[in-house]
């Protein structure tokens, strides 16, 4: 709260959710300025049928970077930033469940963005493949520049950041609600963030898997995306399994914000709140099953396409429901048309148009024209820019007094809203008349009939872009020179404003006084104590960026980066052993149905869900290419089943040792724990030694090399990813062993043993699936 002055050290080391929220918000606004400038370049290029502003290669890189930045480094991070600040406040948590991981999510996000931008300055430039990175244009044969590899790795780094933050959000919402914040009373924005993060958990591992395969293709010579059996379709499947949920990842927080803003300024409860939550969940669930509608023109099966056409239409029913709930909230309201309210209403206007035009594309027959055209561009800009940006700007205005304790200039805010709203429509509405103009072309000299619409759009862009920039300027102005704001200037009733978590009815009876007191005490304590600062998240993220840059450009640098990461992780463990970092105590509150499960365990279970999706995606890719390959080497000819079986037994025994270790410490035997852990560690190391030191050299000597086709490609890649997981498990065991020898585990306190036990069991189970799929069939 009242931090005096500015300190670089504080911002680099903070783990406070409010600070990290602000970091996310500011960084994402930086990225929209970059991505928006790129968009302006594109629009200026297209103002006339032929323009020499951007040469083709530069143009393609511009649209690619624009798409990647706007969707992944601006839209969802701004939502995450707002969520970081307000979800804990809405649910009455003192902080996120894992504050240091929260900081790490942010720094990984920032440095992945830096990596992405740096690709422009590499020889050959960045990726010119479109943000969809379609195969085989993304392979080194057609895009040889190292910028593409680095962009893919930056994307993968972002996927790690997103996965960590979604584990954190889900755990926080499940486990850290204050007394009174039951599921029924959970605010709409928090609901939308919960759903968003569940989607992230399912959507990002597949893209991480696809990017791992792309990287091995580009660096190690595997052939997933250059072969006919994998190729375009395999990439499109993995990409859109991520890509379509991503649309909802961007849109849901905006809908949650609109609900909050509408409720406050219509002075009415949300119309059908329960229904709203049901619809939100339905949209979340269905959005995982519609991705094929991006592939209607790929020639995949007729029935598959028809089925996905139906799911696409089906998702529009709950989605329309969400919009109607918002609109119906106005019915009996008393409406104050403040700036945030105007933005929320504008966002609803856009979601209606964007949603309805989206339904058009759900009909395969219409998609025969729309696919790959400016109609699609128009549709998704209505959703992404209209709905999401207007919703997020509404949030920035709405929560501005809460974050800064100051008031922005209302009159300027309203004027800028009207300019933005009109500019937006001038910019994107003409796209609906360009249903035959292909996307991503830098000239249309052969089709001069497109000129008037393009020129109109460019004029709109020159209105909308500056208006958005001035909007941010208005906010900064408000922060620097605005008048002081009251604690709850809108008379809002939601918990983040009132601090009353037990319900309005009780508030009238004066019970709320207690919880008010509790909140103010919480606020007093929240200026971060010294022990809640840590350099480690930023260090690890810098190390990761250095490692990835080195991996692409110059190996020795990668070793340096790896060194930094390892040193930081060791320091992290040391801090933990010494209890140097003050862990936030969870408020005892609502945590049904996880009352008896620790937050760490909930976190690890959620993490394992993402791991299941990751391995599931990799295995699906393997099974897909294998089924489509006319010939596949017989397992017995390329693999030594004796070694494989021996190794399986070694790994199983290692798991057994781990279980024994856990049993021992449960009954208080530190000695049993030590010997169990050492046993598990030795066997795990033996597994890796056999795999990497005996088996692989044998196979390679027999000509089974990674670049030798799909069979070795999938074998070495999947085994490699599994071996990496074994390595991580061994690192964890080293930590446990060190901690055990310093005598810090007791029968009551041994959570980390349990957590690693879970992880180790998972690694084992993955092996039990991999082993028959590679060695026996």
């Amino acid at each position: 709260m009242a931090y005096q002055g500015f300190s670089i050290k504080r911002w680099l080391t903070t783990t406070d959710h409010k600070d990290i929220g602000i970091l996310y918000i500011v960084t994402s606004i930086y990225f929209i300025i970059v991505g928006g400038s790129l968009a302006e370049l594109v629009r200026i290029q297209l103002a006339v049928p032929s323009n020499s502003l951007l040469v083709p290669a530069t143009y393609e890189q511009t649209v690619t970077l624009h798409g990647l930045i706007m969707i992944l480094w601006f839209l969802s991070p701004l939502g995450v930033g707002l969520a970081n600040y307000f979800v804990p406040k809405q649910i009455g948590a003192k902080d996120m469940s894992f504050p240091r991981l929260n900081a790490m999510s942010y720094w990984l996000y920032l440095f992945s963005g830096v990596l992405l931008l740096s690709t422009l300055f590499l020889p050959g430039g960045g990726a010119g493949t479109g943000w969809t990175l379609y195969a085989p244009l993304n392979t080194s044969l057609y895009s040889p520049q190292p910028g593409v590899t680095l962009a893919a790795l930056a994307f993968a780094m972002l996927a790690v950041s997103v996965t960590i933050s979604s584990i954190n959000f889900i755990t926080t919402i499940l486990r850290a609600r204050a007394k009174g914040v039951t599921w029924r009373r959970l605010p709409a924005f928090t609901w939308s963030i919960l759903m968003t993060n569940i989607l992230m958990l399912f959507a990002f591992p597949p893209i991480a898997a696809a990017l791992v395969l792309l990287t091995t293709d580009r660096v190690l010579g595997t052939v997933f995306f250059s072969s006919f059996e994998g190729g375009s379709i395999l990439w499109a499947q993995l990409f859109w399994f991520f890509g379509h949920p991503e649309v909802y990842i961007v849109a849901l927080p905006a809908l949650g914000i609109m609900a909050e803003v509408l409720v406050t300024f219509a002075q009415r409860p949300l119309f059908g709140k329960t229904l709203f939550v049901i619809e939100l969940s339905a949209v979340t669930a269905l959005s995982i099953g519609v991705w094929i509608h991006h592939m209607f023109m790929t020639g995949i099966g007729f029935d598959v396409r028809e089925a996905f056409s139906l799911t696409t239409l089906a998702i529009s029913v709950p989605f329309e429901g969400l919009v109607l709930n918002l609109v119906l909230t106005l019915r009996k309201g008393t409406i104050k048309l403040t700036t945030p309210m105007l933005y929320a209403l504008g966002g609803i206007f856009f979601v209606i148009l964007g949603g309805i035009t989206g339904v058009f594309q759900g009909f395969i027959v219409l998609d025969y024209l729309f696919h790959g055209s400016y109609w699609v561009v128009g549709h998704f800009h209505y959703v992404m820019v209209g709905t999401a940006i207007f919703g997020l700007v509404a949030a920035l205005y709405y929560w501005f007094p809460k974050i800064t304790n100051k008031m922005y200039n209302e009159k300027r805010g309203k004027i800028l809203f009207f300019i933005s709203f009109i500019g937006f429509n001038i910019l994107y509405f003409p796209y609906f008349f360009l249903a035959d103009m292909p996307r991503r072309i830098e000239s249309y000299a052969a089709n001069p009939q497109w000129w008037p619409f393009n020129l109109t759009a460019t004029i709109g862009a020159l209105i909308f872009g500056p208006a958005l920039l001035l909007t941010f300027a208005n906010l900064i102005q408000g922060y620097r020179k605005g008048k002081g704001a009251e604690a709850n200037p809108w008379g809002a009733r939601e918990t983040e404003w009132t601090g009353n978590f037990t319900g309005a009815a009780q508030a009238e009876e004066g019970v709320a006084a207690d919880s008010q007191k509790e909140v103010s005490r919480m606020e007093e304590n929240s200026p971060v104590e010294k022990s809640r600062f840590t350099y480690l998240p930023v260090t690890i993220s810098v190390g990761a960026a250095v490692f990835l840059t080195g991996f692409v450009l110059f190996w020795p640098v990668a070793v340096m980066g790896l060194g930094v990461i390892l040193a930081a992780i060791i320091q992290w463990f040391k801090d933990d052993v010494r209890d140097k970092y003050a862990v936030v105590k969870e408020a005892i509150g609502e945590n049904w149905p996880f009352n008896s499960v620790s937050k760490e365990k909930v976190g690890v279970w959620i993490f394992l869900v993402s791991e299941v999706v990751l391995f599931g995606s990799l295995l699906t890719a393997y099974i897909y290419v294998r089924l489509r390959s006319p010939v596949w080497p017989a397992a017995a000819q390329v693999h030594n089943i004796t070694i494989g079986t021996t190794n399986t037994l070694i790994l199983l025994t290692s798991s057994l040792a781990m279980i024994l270790a856990l049993q021992a410490i449960r009954s208080g035997s530190l000695r049993g724990l030590k010997s169990g852990l050492i046993g598990a560690f030795t066997l795990g190391t033996a597994f890796l030694a056999v795999k990497l030191g005996v088996e692989w050299p044998l196979e390679i000597a027999n000509g089974f090399v990674i670049s030798g086709g799909l069979a070795p490609s999938s074998y070495f890649t999947l085994m490699g990813v599994h071996a990496l997981h074994v390595g991580v498990g061994l690192a964890g065991m080293t930590y446990l062993i060190a901690k055990a020898f310093s005598g810090r585990f007791t029968a009551q306190s041994h959570t980390s043993v349990e957590l690693l036990g879970l992880y180790w069991a998972f690694v084992d189970i993955v092996w039990l699936i991999l082993f028959p799929l590679f060695y026996l069939v």
Binding site: P56, A57, E60, G128, Y134, P136, L137, Y142, S227, F228, E229, G231, S232, Q267, R268, P269, F271, G272, T274, L275, M297, T298, G299, F302, E306, S309, L310, L313, S316, V317, G321, V323, L324, V327, L330, R331, K332, G333, T334, I335, K336, L337, F349, I352, V359, F360, F363, V365, L366, Y368, L369, H371, G372, S373, A435, D436, P438, E442, N447, R493
Partner: protein, 223 residues
């Protein structure tokens, strides 16, 4: 292009698009209209009483079900129409009645291969009135073979053959009509200029052209 001269695929497309647009526009106008009406009519003025906060105990289940039923019926009614048209586009007429042309997209052009081994580059001549089946593939990256005037397109994917079929309409004055063929999938720096032409000509003229191509090829000893 006059209405009579539209290809059948485009006529179907237009009809379906118009129907969907009417429904979509009415729905959008209704919801946006209500929103704007309430936002303006219910806006805060001095003395306007605020409706009691506790006024919405009942979950609006009946309204929700009614609404969901209406939109489901509308959507799935349209889906049936889309299914029928899609079936029509998916299954071409028998090969015996059609002309099959192999299309290979590559960076950054289209080549067309006729049954009698004539191959052309960036220019595809077809007879009007006869179904044409395009057998589309790519020899490098993913492209898209798009015929915007016919309102159809299909991806050109390395290692795959995708079918797209059309019938070019006969012009009232029996003239030749040139349509644009474009790539609709970003395929590298030449994507913008990956344009070819589809020349629909009366069958007699087409046969004449094809024969002349065959004989000139025989003379030069091409295969």
């Amino acid at each position: 292009m006059s209405q009579q001269a539209l290809p059948p695929s485009a006529v179907d497309w237009n009809n379906f698009f118009n129907l969907t647009s009417y429904i979509g526009l009415i729905a959008a106008a209704l919801v946006i209209g209500l929103m704007v009406y309430w936002a303006i009519n219910n806006r805060y003025r001095k003395g306007r009483p605020v409706t009691a906060w506790q006024g919405l105990g009942r979950a609006p289940a009946r309204e929700a079900v009614t609404f969901a039923a209406i939109s489901t019926i509308l959507l799935f009614g349209l889906a049936v129409g889309s299914y029928r048209l899609n079936t029509y586009l998916q299954y071409p007429p028998p090969i015996s009645e059609s002309l099959v042309i192999d299309v290979t997209a590559f960076q950054w052009a289209f080549s067309f291969h006729y049954p009698n081994n004539v191959t052309t580059l960036d220019e595809c001549r077809i007879p009007t009135g006869q179904p044409i089946i395009f057998n589309v593939t790519s020899s490098d990256v993913m492209h898209n073979f798009g015929l915007p005037d016919f309102k159809v397109k299909i991806d050109a994917i390395p290692g795959r053959y995708n079918i797209l079929w059309i019938t070019a309409p006969t012009m009232p004055d029996n003239s030749t009509m040139t349509y644009q063929i474009r790539c609709y999938e970003l395929c590298g720096v030449g994507h913008t200029y990956m344009i070819a032409s589809l020349i629909a000509m009366p069958p007699s003229e087409f046969n004449q052209w094809l024969n002349s191509q065959t004989s000139s090829m025989n003379m030069t000893g091409g295969s």
